[in-house]
């Protein structure tokens, strides 16, 4: 099986060759890979180097790899799927709408933006109180506020849509 795996900015072409062999961008490695007792813990030996990582999948299908105190977010795609998807022109859509959803249930303390506002990356969109803390939720990019769906003092559930940015 061939996969395209993206970690950060970098893409790796990874092929599972069987018999403990893996090729990464054409270089072959012998890996001794084992899940540990059905836990989300994995051990891998490569050339005597020992790697232990916890690995789990996020809801958006990315894999979170915690390895030696560093957190990596990895996107793994079947090469064939990816090719098909690219051909169909899906994905790579940077111009679309960004929707800020509540990362946790809480109380909306303040919405410092209004519909029509021009905003910059890093501007605070919503202040949400949860776990006894006030949390500033910021915009990941420049844009215009197209919709504001919550108001000050409102109690909301996790994943409630709060603000749309276009």
């Amino acid at each position: 099986m061939k996969y395209i795996t993206t970690v950060g900015e970098k893409e790796y072409k990874i092929e599972i060759l069987g018999d403990g062999k893996v090729s990464v961008d054409g270089v072959e490695y012998t890996v001794d890979f084992e899940p540990v007792s059905g836990q989300p813990v994995f051990t891998m030996l490569v050339d005597g180097r020992s790697y232990e990582a916890t690995i789990h999948q996020e809801e958006d299908d990315d894999w979170i790899v915690l390895l030696h105190g560093h957190r990596y977010t990895a996107n793994v795609e079947d090469e064939r799927e990816k090719r098909l998807r690219a051909a169909a022109g899906i994905g790579v859509d940077d111009s679309g709408e960004f929707i800020l959803k509540a990362p946790m249930p809480g109380l909306v303390v303040k919405v410092p933006v209004s519909e029509g506002d021009e905003i910059k990356q890093g501007d605070v969109l919503v202040i949400l109180e949860s776990m006894k803390m006030q949390n500033e939720l910021k915009s990941p990019r420049d844009g215009v506020v197209s919709r504001v769906l919550v108001k000050d003092g409102e109690s909301i559930e996790q994943k409630t849509e709060m603000v749309h940015i276009e």
Binding site: I16, V31, Q39, V65, L67, H68, H70, Y72
Partner: protein, 505 residues
């Protein structure tokens, strides 16, 4: 005062801490819990457990009436309030007293006096304790009064809520022009948080450290101190790392004893009984100023326990039972160095945004010199209803350097899946030069520390991460394909899962 059963009016790690102390003293225990905490460790650990109500604190852990009712029904002779919730509520302490239940803490009067920051400042100042310069009055001051007094206090200054705590109702003001707006918002926030909009002014001490002194007092008027804790590593007035001793004081025993003696004076000023903490701001020239007194057990008490060998919670219970202090000031010696990291469900890469979720895997660090205080377990749901503290990781070393190295080792061993934690923040901090050198003030984390910057140049291994993720994803795909022919599925790697599944059906 002679009780043999204690009700613990709290949850999480501190409920566990108190339960363990009771267990070691042969005292029976009663837990209380909110609906989502039905399966919590403290419920399972106590001998008795009673439901308080739904998740929100004001319907459960803040229900003083219900807690007292349960104490009476279960014949608990004493209540330990832990920290937070009802721990600094003078009315609750008074209600316990009225019902003949021992409140494991100070007298209601001491709580009330120290709870009003204005009264507290005036009281300790009268007892000869230096306070941060500011508006020296117990009376309520109008905006007009405050605008007049501000230039005398000097800029930059802080507006603070007299009923305050945890940074709420607090505003930094750099000049007179900013004052009116800052006053308005501070009052509004204070009113919302504490039902009281009274505020006062305090001069900003630049480059200050937050150093606090642990005190213990018994019913016979003996008060001792257990040395200092350094708590300058904080973010938005939330402590993140604490240590004892303070690297700023370290071997200056004279200075330690001077601060300790002043702290004891402050406690004496309110006839203090039981465990309490005097918080000071300390400037570069070793001037120190009373900030406030916490009239309860602190989150960070374990670092003091590690270096002094004194079990503060057991000592609290002994005092509440009417015993004399088990120690004189001379008995208290600090040995080695202890550091505590608060492990929170917060994302250090995303503005410390709190995280919720179910703990899917947890493996605690163990071995020499490591202590973990926690109330969470595999399957526990970190909910938005309570604070984000997952556990406290405390280490001891012979020297500060050894303690830091041990903390690095322990952080590396800690495994938690299911919720985002601030462990990477602590890991970066423990490698940061200024932290290692002990060279930091209370603004350090906010102004001088960035995890992204700290991690720059750190050796990473994205290729290995990529291989690992791909192998796990690959295996998942293979398993999905196999799942139809269940009987035949590959048993070598997944033997355990099979066993586990059988076991639970």
């Amino acid at each position: 005062m002679t009780f043999t059963k204690v009700l613990i009016a709290n949850r999480g790690e501190i409920a566990m801490r108190i339960l363990r102390a009771c267990r070691e003293l042969g005292i029976k225990t009663v837990a209380v819990y909110s609906e989502p905490d039905r399966n919590a460790m403290h419920v399972r650990y106590a001998e008795e457990a009673y439901l308080l109500g739904p998740a929100p604190s004001n319907e459960s852990y803040l229900r003083a009436d219900k807690i007292i009712e349960i104490a009476k029904k279960s014949e608990a002779g004493a209540i330990h309030p832990g920290y937070g919730f009802l721990s600094e509520n003078a009315d609750f302490a008074q209600a316990c007293e009225d019902e003949g239940i021992t409140f494991i803490g100070p007298k209601p009067e001491a709580i009330a006096k120290m709870g009003d920051k204005g009264v507290a400042r005036a009281t300790v100042k009268a007892a000869g304790v230096p306070v941060v310069p500011g508006t020296e009055t117990e009376e309520k001051l109008s905006d007009e009064d405050l605008l007049k007094l501000a230039p005398d206090v000097g800029f930059p200054l802080l507006i603070k809520a007299t009923a305050g705590g945890g940074g709420k109702g607090m505003r930094q003001v750099n000049d007179l022009e900013e004052m009116p707006a800052a006053l308005e918002s501070a009052r509004r926030e204070s009113l919302a948080a504490f039902g009281d909009d009274n505020v006062y002014l305090e001069k900003m001490i630049i480059g200050a450290r937050h150093i606090e002194i642990q005190v213990l007092g018994d019913n016979e008027g003996n008060i001792i101190h257990l040395g200092e804790r350094e708590c300058s590593i904080q973010r938005r007035h939330q402590k993140l790392v604490e240590e004892s001793p303070s690297p700023f004081i370290n071997e200056d025993e004279e200075f330690r004893q001077k601060m300790g003696a002043i702290a004891v004076q402050a406690a004496q000023a309110v006839d203090y009984v039981n465990a309490g903490t005097i918080e000071f701001l300390v400037d570069k020239d070793k001037n120190f100023y009373f900030l406030e007194m916490n009239t309860r057990l602190q989150v960070e008490h374990p670092v003091t326990e590690y270096v002094t060998g004194v079990d503060i919670v057991k000592e609290q219970i002994r005092i509440a039972r009417g015993r004399q202090l088990g120690y004189t000031q001379k008995d208290v010696k600090m040995n080695g160095w202890a550091i505590e990291c608060r492990i929170n469900a917060e994302d250090p890469y995303n503005n410390f945004l709190p995280s919720t979720g179910i703990i899917q895997f947890s493996s605690l660090p163990t071995g020499p010199g490591v202590r973990v205080d926690t109330g969470v377990y595999l399957g526990f749901n970190i909910s938005p209803y309570y604070d984000s503290l997952i556990s406290k990781l405390i280490v001891w070393g012979e020297t500060r350097g050894q303690a830091i190295l041990r903390m690095r080792r322990a952080l590396e061993e800690y495994r938690l899946v299911g919720v985002v934690t601030n462990i990477p923040f602590h890991q970066s901090l423990m490698e940061q030069h200024r932290f290692i050198a002990g060279n930091f003030d209370t603004k350090f984390v906010e102004e001088r520390f960035s995890i992204e910057k700290a991690e720059e140049g750190k050796e990473t291994n994205p290729e290995i991460a990529a291989i690992l993720a791909t192998l796990v994803a690959h295996q998942q795909t293979e398993r999905a394909a196999h799942i139809i022919q269940r009987g035949k599925r590959d048993t070598s790697n997944w033997k355990w899962v099979g066993r586990w599944e059988r076991m639970h059906r």
